[in-house]
């Protein structure tokens, strides 16, 4: 009788017993995405923390799956609330990338919609419209901006409720096919959730976006200028600090968006100043530098409340 050593048989589908966490994270691309999130987005501490938590959970969940441990597909629907210009849309786009990297959405496309894309004009128009959008979003992320407009409490014959019902059904039944992210301004989202109790409980992650501090706004402005190839002179930087303090107290202030608009207007004024004197030689430094006069010409310094609107640039 032959003595065949049984120890040589190797299981092909052997479950690994140890996992290199760093390698796993890099393979999923989340270290890179999280790093980007940290680098490119200023402030937003609680948001970043929550996003990191979600990414970690997803990573661990994926490893657990491969290790053959009990794992349940986590509910990933999210709601982003916060004041205008606090970066909700930007973070939503990043979130889609993370989810795709970890394989929790299959395709990773982001379909960004508002009320108009979901709700129809007449009877029988809403359901096909909503379903059309849902079909497109399958395997990716459906981002609903200003979600509270779906619900119109003052109009009984509004079709928004129908869209909400279809949405809720798909959110519940096809959790592995679709991740829904709702975004909107804080207070209105609260009343929206109050009128649709089912919605709130079906969303696992409620993330609040805080306002930016003055230092963060200044940093954002400098970052924007650097991206466009400009920089503040020391005096201009100081006057922009004052600009932020004044602008924050005025109506229609919308955080980073206001700063972006201000930066655009400052560039206009700088260009105007340079062109006003055609007889001089321009140097590279002239093209790059923002002078205090470019900042101080803003109506914020003279006008006060609502002055930005008077210049024709709307800040919603």
């Amino acid at each position: 009788m032959l003595d065949v050593p049984h120890t040589t048989t190797i299981e092909v589908n052997e479950v690994p017993t140890a996992f290199d966490l760093r390698k796993e994270a890099e393979a999923a691309g989340i270290t890179e995405t999280l790093h980007q999130l940290e680098q490119e987005l200023i402030g937003l501490k609680p948001v970043k923390q929550r996003v990191r938590q979600i990414a970690s959970l997803l990573l661990i969940e994926r490893i657990r799956q491969r290790a053959g441990l009990v794992s349940s597909a986590p509910t990933l629907h999210m709601s982003f609330t916060g004041n205008p210009g606090t970066g909700k849309t930007t973070v939503a786009l990043r979130m889609a990338k993370i989810l795709h990297g970890l394989g929790f959405v299959r395709r990773g496309q982001v379909i960004s919609v508002t009320r108009d894309d979901l709700v129809g004009q007449y009877i029988g128009h809403t359901a096909p419209k909503t379903k059309e959008i849902l079909k497109k979003a399958m395997g990716g992320v459906l981002f609903i901006d200003e979600a509270y407009y779906l619900h119109r409490p003052d109009n009984e014959r509004d079709y928004g409720q129908e869209a909400i019902e279809i949405l809720l059904q798909v959110m519940e039944n096809q959790r592995e096919d679709l991740v829904v992210i709702l975004a909107g301004y804080g207070e209105r989202m609260t009343s929206f959730f109050a009128s649709n109790p089912g919605f709130r409980s079906r969303i696992a992650h409620h993330i609040e976006f805080p306002d930016y501090s003055e230092a963060e706004l200044l940093y954002i402005a400098e970052l924007m200028l650097r991206e466009r190839g400009y920089r503040f002179s020391a005096a201009a930087r100081e006057s922009f600090e004052r600009y932020i303090v004044l602008r924050r107290t005025q109506p229609f202030f919308s955080n980073a968006r206001s700063v972006r608009n201000a930066v655009d207007r400052i560039r206009l004024r700088q260009a105007d100043r340079l062109v006003s004197d055609l007889d001089r030689m321009l140097e590279i430094a002239d093209l790059e530098t923002i002078d205090p006069s470019d900042v101080l010409a803003s109506r914020v310094f003279s006008g006060g409340a609502g002055s930005e609107q008077a210049t024709g640039s709307k800040c919603p």
């Binding site: 299959r106 395709r107 379903k131 497109k136 399958m138 096809q174 096919d177």
Partner: protein, 135 residues
């Protein structure tokens, strides 16, 4: 009589998982996926009724499968097929089409031979209503 029509017609019926993979293949090629149904599966009947609109711009087959489930719920007793239409220049035609649903009791066809003048013979495929189970 098991109706054979379109692609994969001599294979056993595709499972939902296999259908999903075929649809995903169509989507990856950029074809518009359509769901059609009929109660008259005669081979000459090319005009099946459409379930909704052709599905452009989808990324994932789950959307098509959702519509298919809905179509099966309503027209589960009919033939349903999925087709992929390639709209790219030079093709502009259906590239794939396969059955995804057939009724419990299938249609029956009969070949009718007709003697014509000068010994010519004309053949016609006639659609018969399925016979009752007893016969």
């Amino acid at each position: 009589m098991k109706l054979t029509q379109g692609c994969f017609s001599f294979l056993p019926d595709l499972s939902d998982e296999q259908i999903t993979k075929q649809v995903q293949y169509c989507l990856s090629k950029g074809w518009a996926v359509n769901i059609e149904f009929t109660d008259d599966p005669h081979p000459r009947n090319t005009y099946w009724e459409m379930w909704g609109l052709p599905m452009f711009d989808l990324a994932d087959a789950a959307g098509v499968m959702m519509e298919l489930a809905e179509c099966r719920r309503v027209y589960g007793d009919r033939y349903i097929r999925v087709s992929g239409f390639d709209s790219s220049h030079g093709w502009e035609s259906v590239r794939i089409s396969f059955l995804v649903n057939r009724p419990a009791k299938e249609a029956e066809f009969e070949l009718v031979r007709q003697e014509m003048a000068v010994r010519s013979v004309r053949y016609t495929t006639v659609h018969r209503q399925p016979r009752p189970a007893s016969s």
